[in-house]
Protein backbone atom coordinates (compact mmCIF):
# COMPACT_ATOMS: atom_id res chain seq x y z
CA UNK A 1 0.00 0.00 0.00
CA UNK A 2 1.30 3.46 -0.89
CA UNK A 3 2.37 5.78 1.88
CA UNK A 4 -0.24 8.17 3.23
CA UNK A 5 0.21 11.72 2.01
CA UNK A 6 0.20 14.80 4.19
CA UNK A 7 0.14 18.51 3.31
CA UNK A 8 1.57 20.70 6.05
CA UNK A 9 0.63 24.42 5.80
CA UNK A 10 2.77 26.12 8.45
CA UNK A 11 4.66 29.40 8.26
CA UNK A 12 6.96 28.90 11.27
CA UNK A 13 10.11 27.34 9.86
CA UNK A 14 11.13 25.64 13.11
CA UNK A 15 7.70 24.13 13.71
CA UNK A 16 7.24 23.16 10.04
CA UNK A 17 10.60 21.41 9.85
CA UNK A 18 9.90 19.63 13.10
CA UNK A 19 6.60 18.16 11.87
CA UNK A 20 7.98 17.30 8.42
CA UNK A 21 11.02 15.55 9.86
CA UNK A 22 8.96 13.47 12.33
CA UNK A 23 6.22 12.60 9.87
CA UNK A 24 8.68 11.56 7.16
CA UNK A 25 10.47 9.40 9.70
CA UNK A 26 7.15 7.78 10.56
CA UNK A 27 6.72 6.84 6.88
CA UNK A 28 4.40 9.55 5.57
CA UNK A 29 4.89 11.48 2.34
CA UNK A 30 4.89 15.14 3.29
CA UNK A 31 4.58 18.37 1.29
CA UNK A 32 5.14 21.61 3.17
CA UNK A 33 3.79 25.07 2.24
CA UNK A 34 4.63 28.22 4.16
CA UNK A 35 1.97 30.60 2.97
CA UNK A 36 -1.79 30.42 2.76
CA UNK A 37 -2.14 30.91 -1.02
CA UNK A 38 0.35 28.18 -1.90
CA UNK A 39 -1.31 25.94 0.67
CA UNK A 40 -4.74 26.39 -0.88
CA UNK A 41 -3.42 25.73 -4.41
CA UNK A 42 -1.60 22.58 -3.26
CA UNK A 43 -4.69 21.29 -1.45
CA UNK A 44 -6.80 21.80 -4.60
CA UNK A 45 -4.28 20.20 -6.95
CA UNK A 46 -3.72 16.98 -5.07
CA UNK A 47 -5.97 14.88 -2.88
CA UNK A 48 -3.95 14.49 0.31
CA UNK A 49 -4.90 12.02 3.01
CA UNK A 50 -4.25 14.64 5.68
CA UNK A 51 -3.93 18.42 5.76
CA UNK A 52 -2.21 20.02 8.77
CA UNK A 53 -3.45 23.59 8.81
CA UNK A 54 -2.15 26.53 10.81
CA UNK A 55 -4.54 29.47 11.37
CA UNK A 56 -2.27 32.52 11.44
CA UNK A 57 -0.69 32.34 7.98
CA UNK A 58 0.67 34.97 5.57
CA UNK A 59 -1.41 35.82 2.46
CA UNK A 60 -4.43 33.75 3.46
CA UNK A 61 -5.58 32.65 6.89
CA UNK A 62 -6.21 29.01 7.74
CA UNK A 63 -9.89 29.73 8.39
CA UNK A 64 -10.21 31.16 4.84
CA UNK A 65 -8.45 28.14 3.33
CA UNK A 66 -10.81 25.80 5.15
CA UNK A 67 -13.83 27.84 4.06
CA UNK A 68 -12.65 27.69 0.40
CA UNK A 69 -12.10 23.94 0.55
CA UNK A 70 -15.12 22.87 2.55
CA UNK A 71 -17.27 25.90 3.28
CA UNK A 72 -19.11 26.01 -0.10
CA UNK A 73 -21.72 23.66 -1.50
CA UNK A 74 -19.06 21.26 -2.77
CA UNK A 75 -16.47 19.58 -0.58
CA UNK A 76 -13.29 20.01 -2.67
CA UNK A 77 -11.29 17.63 -0.49
CA UNK A 78 -13.63 14.68 0.16
CA UNK A 79 -10.78 12.24 0.83
CA UNK A 80 -8.75 14.44 3.16
CA UNK A 81 -8.83 14.77 6.90
CA UNK A 82 -8.09 18.30 8.10
CA UNK A 83 -6.22 18.81 11.39
CA UNK A 84 -6.09 22.43 12.51
CA UNK A 85 -2.92 23.19 14.46
CA UNK A 86 -2.78 26.52 16.26
CA UNK A 87 -1.77 28.12 19.53
CA UNK A 88 -4.99 30.14 19.80
CA UNK A 89 -7.91 28.63 21.61
CA UNK A 90 -11.34 28.90 20.10
CA UNK A 91 -14.30 30.87 21.29
CA UNK A 92 -17.66 29.11 21.18
CA UNK A 93 -18.72 30.52 17.79
CA UNK A 94 -15.58 29.64 15.86
CA UNK A 95 -15.57 26.24 17.53
CA UNK A 96 -18.96 25.49 15.98
CA UNK A 97 -17.72 26.51 12.51
CA UNK A 98 -14.51 24.51 12.89
CA UNK A 99 -16.34 21.42 14.15
CA UNK A 100 -18.32 21.55 10.93
CA UNK A 101 -15.33 21.87 8.60
CA UNK A 102 -12.30 20.35 10.37
CA UNK A 103 -11.62 16.88 11.72
CA UNK A 104 -9.46 17.91 14.66
CA UNK A 105 -8.36 21.10 16.37
CA UNK A 106 -5.13 20.89 18.33
CA UNK A 107 -3.11 23.35 20.41
CA UNK A 108 0.45 23.19 19.06
CA UNK A 109 2.07 23.84 22.44
CA UNK A 110 0.29 20.76 23.82
CA UNK A 111 1.05 18.49 20.89
CA UNK A 112 4.49 16.97 20.45
CA UNK A 113 5.27 15.32 17.10
CA UNK A 114 4.76 11.92 18.71
CA UNK A 115 1.28 12.91 19.86
CA UNK A 116 0.48 14.38 16.45
CA UNK A 117 1.31 11.06 14.79
CA UNK A 118 -0.96 9.25 17.25
CA UNK A 119 -3.82 11.65 16.38
CA UNK A 120 -3.21 11.04 12.65
CA UNK A 121 -3.36 7.31 13.30
CA UNK A 122 -6.53 7.78 15.32
CA UNK A 123 -8.07 9.52 12.30
CA UNK A 124 -7.27 6.59 10.04
CA UNK A 125 -3.67 7.28 9.06
Amino acid sequence: MANKTILCIEDDRFIGEMYVRSLKKAGYEVDWMVDGNDGLVAARNKQYDFILLDIMLPERKGTEILASLRGGKQNLIPKSRVIVLTNFEQDEDSRAVMEHNADAYLIKAEITPKKLISVIQQLGG
Binding site: D12, F14, I15, M18, Y19, R21, S22, V84, N87, F88, E89, E92, E99, A102, D103, A104, Y105, L106, I107, K108, A109, E110, I111, T112, P113, K114, V119, Q122, L123, G124
Partner: protein
Amino acid sequence: MELKKQPKLASDFWPSFIKNARLDLILGQILVFTIIILILIITNIATIDSINLWLILTTAFIANIAILLMFTNKITKPTKKLLAAIIQINGETPILPVSSPNSEDDDKTGFQDALQTIYKLSSNQNPDKKATSKNITSNNLISQALDSTVCGFVAMDDKRQIIYANKSAPISINTDNKEYLSLIFNENDGIDEWLDKCSNNSVHNEKIWTRVPDKLPNNEGRRFFDCIANYQRGAIPEVVLSLIDRTSTYSIDEENLDFMSFAAHELRGPITVIRGYLDVLNDELVDVLKDDQSELFSRLIVSANRLSGYINNILNTSKYDRRHLKIQLREDNVARVYDTISDDMRLRAKAQRRLLTVSIPENLPTIAVDSTSMGEVFSNLIDNAVKYSNEGGAINITARANDSFVEVEFKDHGIGMSENIISNLFQKFYRSHRSRETVAGTGIGLYICKAIVESHGGTISIQSEEGKGSTFTVSIPIYATIAEKLKASNNSNVGIISEGRGWIKNHSMYRG
Protein backbone atom coordinates in the same frame (compact mmCIF):
# COMPACT_ATOMS: atom_id res chain seq x y z
CA MET B 1 -28.82 78.10 55.33
CA GLU B 2 -31.76 78.25 52.97
CA LEU B 3 -33.91 75.17 52.87
CA LYS B 4 -34.61 73.84 49.44
CA LYS B 5 -38.27 73.94 48.47
CA GLN B 6 -39.83 70.48 48.55
CA PRO B 7 -41.49 69.44 45.28
CA LYS B 8 -45.31 69.65 45.26
CA LEU B 9 -46.99 66.33 45.86
CA ALA B 10 -50.15 65.04 44.17
CA SER B 11 -51.77 64.84 47.62
CA ASP B 12 -51.32 68.60 48.11
CA PHE B 13 -53.60 69.32 45.16
CA TRP B 14 -56.99 68.04 46.40
CA PRO B 15 -57.50 70.06 49.65
CA SER B 16 -56.75 73.40 48.03
CA PHE B 17 -58.70 72.54 44.88
CA ILE B 18 -61.90 71.52 46.70
CA LYS B 19 -61.65 74.47 49.13
CA ASN B 20 -61.33 76.97 46.26
CA ALA B 21 -64.10 75.30 44.27
CA ARG B 22 -66.55 75.52 47.21
CA LEU B 23 -65.59 79.13 47.96
CA ASP B 24 -66.09 80.11 44.29
CA LEU B 25 -69.47 78.40 44.31
CA ILE B 26 -70.70 80.27 47.43
CA LEU B 27 -69.34 83.63 46.21
CA GLY B 28 -70.99 83.03 42.82
CA GLN B 29 -74.33 82.34 44.51
CA ILE B 30 -74.03 85.46 46.66
CA LEU B 31 -73.35 87.49 43.51
CA VAL B 32 -76.33 85.99 41.66
CA PHE B 33 -78.70 86.58 44.60
CA THR B 34 -77.47 90.16 45.11
CA ILE B 35 -78.25 90.89 41.45
CA ILE B 36 -81.71 89.30 41.80
CA ILE B 37 -82.46 91.41 44.93
CA LEU B 38 -81.31 94.60 43.19
CA ILE B 39 -83.51 93.87 40.14
CA LEU B 40 -86.53 93.12 42.32
CA ILE B 41 -86.10 96.36 44.29
CA ILE B 42 -85.32 98.58 41.29
CA THR B 43 -88.31 97.24 39.34
CA ASN B 44 -90.51 97.71 42.46
CA ILE B 45 -91.57 94.10 42.40
CA ALA B 46 -90.59 93.91 46.05
CA THR B 47 -89.55 96.35 48.75
CA ILE B 48 -86.43 96.06 50.85
CA ASP B 49 -88.44 95.64 54.05
CA SER B 50 -90.54 92.80 52.67
CA ILE B 51 -90.13 89.83 55.05
CA ASN B 52 -91.53 87.49 52.45
CA LEU B 53 -88.89 88.52 49.97
CA TRP B 54 -86.04 87.77 52.40
CA LEU B 55 -87.66 84.51 53.53
CA ILE B 56 -88.02 83.23 49.98
CA LEU B 57 -84.58 84.41 48.89
CA THR B 58 -82.80 82.97 51.95
CA THR B 59 -84.51 79.58 51.52
CA ALA B 60 -83.72 79.55 47.83
CA PHE B 61 -80.11 80.57 48.56
CA ILE B 62 -79.56 77.79 51.10
CA ALA B 63 -81.29 75.17 48.96
CA ASN B 64 -79.29 76.26 45.95
CA ILE B 65 -75.99 76.06 47.79
CA ALA B 66 -76.85 72.59 49.14
CA ILE B 67 -77.85 71.31 45.71
CA LEU B 68 -74.76 72.80 44.07
CA LEU B 69 -72.48 71.28 46.70
CA MET B 70 -74.10 67.88 46.12
CA PHE B 71 -73.59 68.22 42.37
CA THR B 72 -70.00 69.35 42.88
CA ASN B 73 -69.34 66.21 44.90
CA LYS B 74 -70.88 64.06 42.19
CA ILE B 75 -69.09 65.83 39.35
CA THR B 76 -65.67 65.72 41.02
CA LYS B 77 -66.03 62.08 42.17
CA PRO B 78 -64.09 60.55 39.18
CA THR B 79 -61.37 63.18 39.55
CA LYS B 80 -61.19 62.36 43.27
CA LYS B 81 -60.85 58.61 42.57
CA LEU B 82 -58.19 59.12 39.89
CA LEU B 83 -56.28 61.39 42.25
CA ALA B 84 -56.55 58.86 45.08
CA ALA B 85 -55.10 56.20 42.75
CA ILE B 86 -52.25 58.50 41.69
CA ILE B 87 -51.48 59.34 45.34
CA GLN B 88 -51.38 55.63 46.17
CA ILE B 89 -49.14 54.80 43.20
CA ASN B 90 -46.84 57.68 44.05
CA GLY B 91 -46.52 56.26 47.53
CA GLU B 92 -47.65 59.47 49.23
CA THR B 93 -49.61 59.73 52.50
CA PRO B 94 -53.18 58.77 51.57
CA ILE B 95 -55.68 61.64 52.11
CA LEU B 96 -58.50 60.26 50.00
CA PRO B 97 -60.26 56.91 50.22
CA VAL B 98 -58.88 54.59 47.52
CA SER B 99 -61.56 52.81 45.54
CA SER B 100 -60.99 49.35 44.22
CA PRO B 101 -60.28 49.20 40.49
CA ASN B 102 -62.59 46.16 40.44
CA SER B 103 -65.70 47.76 42.05
CA GLU B 104 -69.05 46.91 40.48
CA ASP B 105 -70.31 50.53 40.37
CA ASP B 106 -67.33 51.62 38.34
CA ASP B 107 -67.71 48.62 36.11
CA LYS B 108 -71.23 49.75 35.20
CA THR B 109 -70.17 53.30 34.39
CA GLY B 110 -67.06 52.20 32.51
CA PHE B 111 -64.84 54.15 34.88
CA GLN B 112 -63.18 50.91 35.99
CA ASP B 113 -61.22 50.78 32.70
CA ALA B 114 -59.79 54.24 33.33
CA LEU B 115 -58.68 53.29 36.86
CA GLN B 116 -57.15 50.01 35.72
CA THR B 117 -55.28 51.83 32.95
CA ILE B 118 -53.64 54.05 35.56
CA TYR B 119 -52.56 51.07 37.66
CA LYS B 120 -51.31 49.25 34.55
CA LEU B 121 -49.32 52.23 33.32
CA SER B 122 -47.75 52.66 36.72
CA SER B 123 -46.68 49.00 36.98
CA ASN B 124 -45.12 49.17 33.49
CA GLN B 125 -43.29 52.42 33.98
CA ASN B 126 -42.31 52.32 37.64
CA PRO B 127 -41.48 48.72 38.45
CA ASP B 128 -39.15 49.91 41.17
CA LYS B 129 -41.96 51.42 43.17
CA LYS B 130 -43.82 48.27 44.05
CA ALA B 131 -42.94 48.46 47.70
CA THR B 132 -45.36 50.54 49.72
CA SER B 133 -45.00 51.87 53.19
CA LYS B 134 -46.73 54.33 55.44
CA ASN B 135 -43.78 56.61 55.53
CA ILE B 136 -43.80 56.94 51.80
CA THR B 137 -42.61 60.51 51.44
CA SER B 138 -39.25 59.77 53.01
CA ASN B 139 -39.04 56.52 51.01
CA ASN B 140 -39.52 58.60 47.90
CA LEU B 141 -36.63 60.81 48.87
CA ILE B 142 -34.46 57.75 49.56
CA SER B 143 -35.49 56.30 46.23
CA GLN B 144 -34.59 59.54 44.44
CA ALA B 145 -31.27 59.64 46.26
CA LEU B 146 -30.48 56.03 45.30
CA ASP B 147 -31.40 56.76 41.69
CA SER B 148 -28.85 59.56 41.60
CA THR B 149 -25.90 57.33 42.64
CA VAL B 150 -23.70 55.35 40.25
CA CYS B 151 -23.94 52.30 42.51
CA GLY B 152 -26.64 49.74 41.91
CA PHE B 153 -29.02 48.56 44.63
CA VAL B 154 -31.30 45.59 44.15
CA ALA B 155 -33.73 44.00 46.60
CA MET B 156 -35.26 40.56 46.09
CA ASP B 157 -38.02 38.69 47.86
CA ASP B 158 -37.96 35.08 49.05
CA LYS B 159 -38.87 33.90 45.52
CA ARG B 160 -35.81 35.73 44.15
CA GLN B 161 -38.05 38.18 42.30
CA ILE B 162 -36.67 41.69 42.06
CA ILE B 163 -38.88 43.99 44.13
CA TYR B 164 -36.69 47.07 43.92
CA ALA B 165 -33.84 48.19 41.70
CA ASN B 166 -32.47 51.68 41.40
CA LYS B 167 -31.59 53.26 38.06
CA SER B 168 -27.91 52.25 38.08
CA ALA B 169 -28.62 48.58 38.79
CA PRO B 170 -27.86 46.31 35.80
CA ILE B 171 -31.37 45.01 35.26
CA SER B 172 -32.92 43.56 32.10
CA ILE B 173 -36.36 42.26 31.28
CA ASN B 174 -36.79 38.75 29.90
CA THR B 175 -39.38 37.48 27.45
CA ASP B 176 -41.82 36.76 30.30
CA ASN B 177 -41.67 40.48 31.16
CA LYS B 178 -39.82 39.67 34.41
CA GLU B 179 -36.85 41.63 35.60
CA TYR B 180 -33.58 39.82 36.07
CA LEU B 181 -30.08 40.76 37.09
CA SER B 182 -27.87 41.06 34.01
CA LEU B 183 -24.54 40.16 35.57
CA ILE B 184 -22.14 37.54 34.22
CA PHE B 185 -20.80 35.46 37.10
CA ASN B 186 -18.35 32.61 36.79
CA GLU B 187 -19.80 29.17 36.19
CA ASN B 188 -21.07 27.59 39.43
CA ASP B 189 -20.14 30.70 41.42
CA GLY B 190 -23.11 32.93 40.70
CA ILE B 191 -25.78 34.50 42.86
CA ASP B 192 -28.20 31.62 42.26
CA GLU B 193 -25.75 28.98 43.42
CA TRP B 194 -24.95 31.07 46.51
CA LEU B 195 -28.64 31.58 47.31
CA ASP B 196 -29.23 27.83 46.90
CA LYS B 197 -26.58 27.25 49.55
CA CYS B 198 -27.96 30.04 51.77
CA SER B 199 -31.51 28.73 51.66
CA ASN B 200 -30.25 25.28 52.66
CA ASN B 201 -27.79 26.25 55.37
CA SER B 202 -28.01 29.85 56.53
CA VAL B 203 -30.20 32.33 58.34
CA HIS B 204 -27.87 35.20 57.63
CA ASN B 205 -25.03 35.30 55.12
CA GLU B 206 -22.87 37.69 53.13
CA LYS B 207 -20.74 37.30 50.04
CA ILE B 208 -18.62 39.52 47.82
CA TRP B 209 -17.86 38.96 44.15
CA THR B 210 -15.34 41.20 42.46
CA ARG B 211 -15.07 42.43 38.84
CA VAL B 212 -18.42 41.06 37.67
CA PRO B 213 -19.26 42.40 34.18
CA ASP B 214 -22.79 43.08 32.94
CA LYS B 215 -22.00 42.30 29.31
CA LEU B 216 -19.62 40.10 27.35
CA PRO B 217 -16.36 41.64 26.10
CA ASN B 218 -16.49 44.02 23.12
CA ASN B 219 -20.05 45.11 23.93
CA GLU B 220 -20.64 48.82 24.13
CA GLY B 221 -21.18 50.30 27.59
CA ARG B 222 -19.77 47.25 29.37
CA ARG B 223 -19.59 47.89 33.12
CA PHE B 224 -17.83 46.08 35.97
CA PHE B 225 -19.17 45.78 39.48
CA ASP B 226 -18.02 44.60 42.85
CA CYS B 227 -21.13 42.85 44.11
CA ILE B 228 -21.93 42.61 47.82
CA ALA B 229 -24.83 40.34 48.69
CA ASN B 230 -26.66 40.18 52.02
CA TYR B 231 -29.05 37.35 52.78
CA GLN B 232 -31.45 37.37 55.71
CA ARG B 233 -33.93 34.53 55.79
CA GLY B 234 -37.55 35.60 56.26
CA ALA B 235 -36.79 39.33 55.99
CA ILE B 236 -38.43 41.64 53.44
CA PRO B 237 -36.44 41.98 51.29
CA GLU B 238 -34.65 38.67 51.80
CA VAL B 239 -31.71 39.55 49.56
CA VAL B 240 -30.07 42.94 49.13
CA LEU B 241 -27.36 43.46 46.53
CA SER B 242 -25.08 46.48 46.58
CA LEU B 243 -23.26 46.88 43.27
CA ILE B 244 -20.29 49.18 43.24
CA ASP B 245 -19.42 50.39 39.76
CA ARG B 246 -15.68 49.80 39.29
CA THR B 247 -15.58 50.10 35.52
CA SER B 248 -12.85 52.75 35.51
CA THR B 249 -10.47 50.53 37.52
CA TYR B 250 -11.25 47.19 35.95
CA SER B 251 -11.33 48.33 32.33
CA ILE B 252 -7.63 49.23 32.67
CA ASP B 253 -7.06 45.77 34.16
CA GLU B 254 -8.85 44.40 31.15
CA GLU B 255 -6.16 45.86 28.87
CA ASN B 256 -3.51 44.27 31.06
CA LEU B 257 -5.30 40.95 30.83
CA ASP B 258 -5.41 41.32 27.04
CA PHE B 259 -1.68 41.89 27.11
CA MET B 260 -1.11 38.90 29.41
CA SER B 261 -3.19 36.71 27.15
CA PHE B 262 -1.40 37.92 24.01
CA ALA B 263 2.04 37.50 25.62
CA ALA B 264 1.18 33.98 26.76
CA HIS B 265 0.02 33.05 23.25
CA GLU B 266 3.29 34.40 21.87
CA LEU B 267 5.22 32.25 24.35
CA ARG B 268 3.41 29.18 23.12
CA GLY B 269 5.27 29.41 19.78
CA PRO B 270 8.78 28.84 21.15
CA ILE B 271 7.44 26.33 23.69
CA THR B 272 5.97 24.29 20.82
CA VAL B 273 9.40 24.13 19.22
CA ILE B 274 11.29 23.35 22.42
CA ARG B 275 8.93 20.59 23.54
CA GLY B 276 8.65 19.23 20.02
CA TYR B 277 12.37 18.97 19.37
CA LEU B 278 12.99 17.53 22.84
CA ASP B 279 10.41 14.87 22.00
CA VAL B 280 12.10 14.15 18.67
CA LEU B 281 15.60 14.13 20.11
CA ASN B 282 14.61 12.04 23.11
CA ASP B 283 13.77 9.15 20.77
CA GLU B 284 16.77 9.67 18.54
CA LEU B 285 19.35 10.06 21.31
CA VAL B 286 18.10 7.41 23.71
CA ASP B 287 20.92 5.00 22.81
CA VAL B 288 23.59 7.66 22.43
CA LEU B 289 23.39 9.67 25.65
CA LYS B 290 25.42 8.68 28.68
CA ASP B 291 23.70 8.41 32.07
CA ASP B 292 24.55 11.90 33.27
CA GLN B 293 23.62 13.34 29.85
CA SER B 294 20.26 11.55 30.00
CA GLU B 295 19.64 13.15 33.35
CA LEU B 296 20.42 16.60 31.95
CA PHE B 297 18.16 15.86 29.01
CA SER B 298 15.25 14.88 31.26
CA ARG B 299 15.75 18.14 33.18
CA LEU B 300 15.30 19.98 29.89
CA ILE B 301 12.03 18.13 29.23
CA VAL B 302 10.78 18.73 32.79
CA SER B 303 11.60 22.45 32.59
CA ALA B 304 9.94 22.84 29.19
CA ASN B 305 6.81 21.10 30.50
CA ARG B 306 6.76 23.28 33.60
CA LEU B 307 7.08 26.39 31.47
CA SER B 308 4.16 25.18 29.38
CA GLY B 309 2.17 24.69 32.60
CA TYR B 310 2.92 28.24 33.77
CA ILE B 311 1.81 29.64 30.41
CA ASN B 312 -1.44 27.72 30.80
CA ASN B 313 -1.81 29.21 34.30
CA ILE B 314 -1.45 32.72 32.91
CA LEU B 315 -3.94 32.05 30.11
CA ASN B 316 -6.39 30.41 32.52
CA THR B 317 -6.12 33.32 34.96
CA SER B 318 -6.70 35.86 32.23
CA LYS B 319 -9.68 33.85 30.98
CA TYR B 320 -11.10 33.30 34.47
CA ASP B 321 -10.84 36.99 35.38
CA ARG B 322 -12.68 37.90 32.20
CA ARG B 323 -15.36 35.25 32.76
CA HIS B 324 -14.12 33.31 29.72
CA LEU B 325 -12.92 30.15 31.45
CA LYS B 326 -15.11 27.39 30.10
CA ILE B 327 -15.26 24.10 31.92
CA GLN B 328 -16.58 21.17 29.85
CA LEU B 329 -17.76 18.66 32.44
CA ARG B 330 -17.89 15.01 31.41
CA GLU B 331 -18.09 11.69 33.22
CA ASP B 332 -14.61 10.41 34.04
CA ASN B 333 -12.64 9.09 36.99
CA VAL B 334 -9.76 10.45 39.04
CA ALA B 335 -7.33 7.76 37.88
CA ARG B 336 -7.84 8.70 34.22
CA VAL B 337 -7.46 12.41 34.99
CA TYR B 338 -4.18 11.65 36.72
CA ASP B 339 -3.11 9.47 33.76
CA THR B 340 -3.12 12.55 31.51
CA ILE B 341 -0.28 14.06 33.57
CA SER B 342 1.34 10.96 35.12
CA ASP B 343 4.29 10.68 32.69
CA ASP B 344 5.14 14.32 33.16
CA MET B 345 4.78 14.12 36.97
CA ARG B 346 6.87 10.96 37.24
CA LEU B 347 9.62 12.58 35.21
CA ARG B 348 9.38 15.79 37.23
CA ALA B 349 9.60 14.00 40.60
CA LYS B 350 12.49 11.90 39.38
CA ALA B 351 14.43 14.87 37.97
CA GLN B 352 13.95 16.82 41.19
CA ARG B 353 14.59 13.81 43.43
CA ARG B 354 11.25 13.50 45.18
CA LEU B 355 9.53 10.23 46.03
CA LEU B 356 6.14 10.41 44.37
CA THR B 357 3.63 7.73 45.38
CA VAL B 358 0.18 7.61 43.83
CA SER B 359 -2.59 5.48 45.25
CA ILE B 360 -5.90 6.02 43.49
CA PRO B 361 -8.37 3.12 43.94
CA GLU B 362 -9.97 1.81 40.74
CA ASN B 363 -13.46 1.46 42.24
CA LEU B 364 -14.08 5.14 43.08
CA PRO B 365 -17.32 6.66 41.79
CA THR B 366 -16.98 8.58 38.54
CA ILE B 367 -16.77 12.37 38.75
CA ALA B 368 -18.05 15.24 36.60
CA VAL B 369 -14.82 16.74 35.38
CA ASP B 370 -13.03 18.72 32.71
CA SER B 371 -10.01 16.45 32.69
CA THR B 372 -7.63 18.95 31.04
CA SER B 373 -8.38 21.69 33.59
CA MET B 374 -8.39 19.28 36.54
CA GLY B 375 -5.11 17.79 35.27
CA GLU B 376 -3.69 21.32 35.49
CA VAL B 377 -4.93 21.59 39.09
CA PHE B 378 -3.24 18.29 40.01
CA SER B 379 -0.08 19.37 38.19
CA ASN B 380 0.02 22.71 40.03
CA LEU B 381 -0.46 21.05 43.42
CA ILE B 382 2.30 18.51 42.74
CA ASP B 383 4.53 21.30 41.45
CA ASN B 384 3.96 23.15 44.74
CA ALA B 385 4.63 20.00 46.76
CA VAL B 386 7.95 19.63 44.92
CA LYS B 387 8.86 23.30 45.39
CA TYR B 388 8.12 23.41 49.10
CA SER B 389 9.69 20.09 50.11
CA ASN B 390 13.25 18.94 50.34
CA GLU B 391 15.29 16.67 48.14
CA GLY B 392 14.41 13.06 48.85
CA GLY B 393 11.07 14.07 50.41
CA ALA B 394 7.94 11.99 49.86
CA ILE B 395 4.86 13.29 48.06
CA ASN B 396 1.77 11.11 48.45
CA ILE B 397 -1.32 11.32 46.30
CA THR B 398 -4.37 9.44 47.51
CA ALA B 399 -8.06 9.48 46.67
CA ARG B 400 -11.24 8.36 48.43
CA ALA B 401 -15.00 8.73 48.18
CA ASN B 402 -16.67 10.94 50.76
CA ASP B 403 -20.45 11.23 50.53
CA SER B 404 -21.25 12.90 47.19
CA PHE B 405 -17.65 13.92 46.52
CA VAL B 406 -14.39 12.25 45.58
CA GLU B 407 -11.52 13.69 47.58
CA VAL B 408 -8.00 13.75 46.18
CA GLU B 409 -5.24 14.46 48.66
CA PHE B 410 -1.77 15.85 47.86
CA LYS B 411 0.48 15.45 50.88
CA ASP B 412 4.05 16.63 51.18
CA HIS B 413 6.45 16.46 54.10
CA GLY B 414 8.14 19.75 53.38
CA ILE B 415 8.45 23.12 55.06
CA GLY B 416 4.72 23.63 55.76
CA MET B 417 3.30 27.04 56.64
CA SER B 418 1.70 29.03 59.43
CA GLU B 419 -1.99 29.92 59.92
CA ASN B 420 -1.66 33.52 58.70
CA ILE B 421 -0.11 32.39 55.40
CA ILE B 422 -2.89 29.84 54.84
CA SER B 423 -5.62 32.47 55.10
CA ASN B 424 -4.17 34.41 52.12
CA LEU B 425 -2.96 31.45 50.14
CA PHE B 426 -5.60 31.39 47.40
CA GLN B 427 -5.43 35.10 46.62
CA LYS B 428 -4.10 36.15 43.25
CA PHE B 429 -0.41 37.13 43.20
CA TYR B 430 -0.08 36.26 46.91
CA ARG B 431 3.39 35.10 47.85
CA SER B 432 4.34 34.71 51.48
CA HIS B 433 7.27 36.78 52.65
CA ARG B 434 9.28 33.63 53.18
CA SER B 435 8.61 32.12 49.77
CA ARG B 436 9.40 35.43 48.05
CA GLU B 437 12.91 35.08 49.38
CA THR B 438 13.44 31.39 48.83
CA VAL B 439 11.21 29.96 46.09
CA ALA B 440 10.45 31.27 42.60
CA GLY B 441 6.82 31.61 41.61
CA THR B 442 4.10 33.86 40.23
CA GLY B 443 1.42 33.55 42.91
CA ILE B 444 -1.31 32.52 40.48
CA GLY B 445 -1.05 28.71 40.68
CA LEU B 446 -3.28 28.24 43.73
CA TYR B 447 -5.56 31.09 42.67
CA ILE B 448 -6.36 29.33 39.40
CA CYS B 449 -6.55 25.91 41.14
CA LYS B 450 -9.29 27.24 43.42
CA ALA B 451 -11.07 28.87 40.48
CA ILE B 452 -11.04 25.65 38.44
CA VAL B 453 -12.10 23.43 41.35
CA GLU B 454 -14.94 25.78 42.31
CA SER B 455 -16.04 25.93 38.67
CA HIS B 456 -16.56 22.17 39.02
CA GLY B 457 -18.77 22.79 42.07
CA GLY B 458 -15.98 21.43 44.28
CA THR B 459 -13.76 22.76 47.05
CA ILE B 460 -10.08 22.94 47.81
CA SER B 461 -8.76 22.97 51.37
CA ILE B 462 -5.43 22.85 53.14
CA GLN B 463 -3.97 21.55 56.35
CA SER B 464 -0.44 22.53 57.20
CA GLU B 465 2.02 22.68 60.02
CA GLU B 466 5.28 24.57 59.92
CA GLY B 467 8.21 22.25 59.49
CA LYS B 468 6.03 19.17 58.97
CA GLY B 469 4.46 19.70 55.56
CA SER B 470 1.15 20.50 53.89
CA THR B 471 -1.83 18.56 52.64
CA PHE B 472 -4.09 19.99 49.93
CA THR B 473 -7.45 18.27 49.48
CA VAL B 474 -9.50 18.70 46.30
CA SER B 475 -13.16 17.60 46.52
CA ILE B 476 -14.93 17.01 43.21
CA PRO B 477 -18.68 16.21 42.91
CA ILE B 478 -19.43 12.65 41.83
CA TYR B 479 -21.03 12.37 38.41
CA ALA B 480 -24.30 10.86 39.67
CA THR B 481 -25.16 14.06 41.59
CA ILE B 482 -25.26 16.21 38.47
CA ALA B 483 -25.71 13.61 35.73
CA GLU B 484 -29.15 14.80 34.62
CA LYS B 485 -28.04 18.40 34.30
CA LEU B 486 -24.97 17.41 32.28
CA LYS B 487 -26.82 15.09 29.93
CA ALA B 488 -29.10 17.96 29.02
CA SER B 489 -26.22 20.32 28.23
CA ASN B 490 -23.67 17.93 26.64
CA ASN B 491 -25.76 16.43 23.87
CA SER B 492 -24.26 18.68 21.23
CA ASN B 493 -20.79 17.24 21.85
CA VAL B 494 -21.53 13.67 20.85
CA GLY B 495 -18.79 12.39 18.54
CA ILE B 496 -16.10 14.81 19.72
CA ILE B 497 -13.17 13.64 21.79
CA SER B 498 -11.27 16.17 23.91
CA GLU B 499 -7.56 16.38 23.28
CA GLY B 500 -6.11 18.83 25.79
CA ARG B 501 -7.63 22.19 24.94
CA GLY B 502 -8.43 20.97 21.44
CA TRP B 503 -10.60 18.17 20.09
CA ILE B 504 -10.71 15.31 17.58
CA LYS B 505 -13.80 14.10 15.73
CA ASN B 506 -14.60 10.53 16.58
CA HIS B 507 -14.97 9.14 13.06
CA SER B 508 -15.36 5.55 14.21
CA MET B 509 -18.45 6.69 16.08
CA TYR B 510 -19.88 8.28 12.92
CA ARG B 511 -19.27 5.15 10.90
CA GLY B 512 -20.84 2.94 13.57
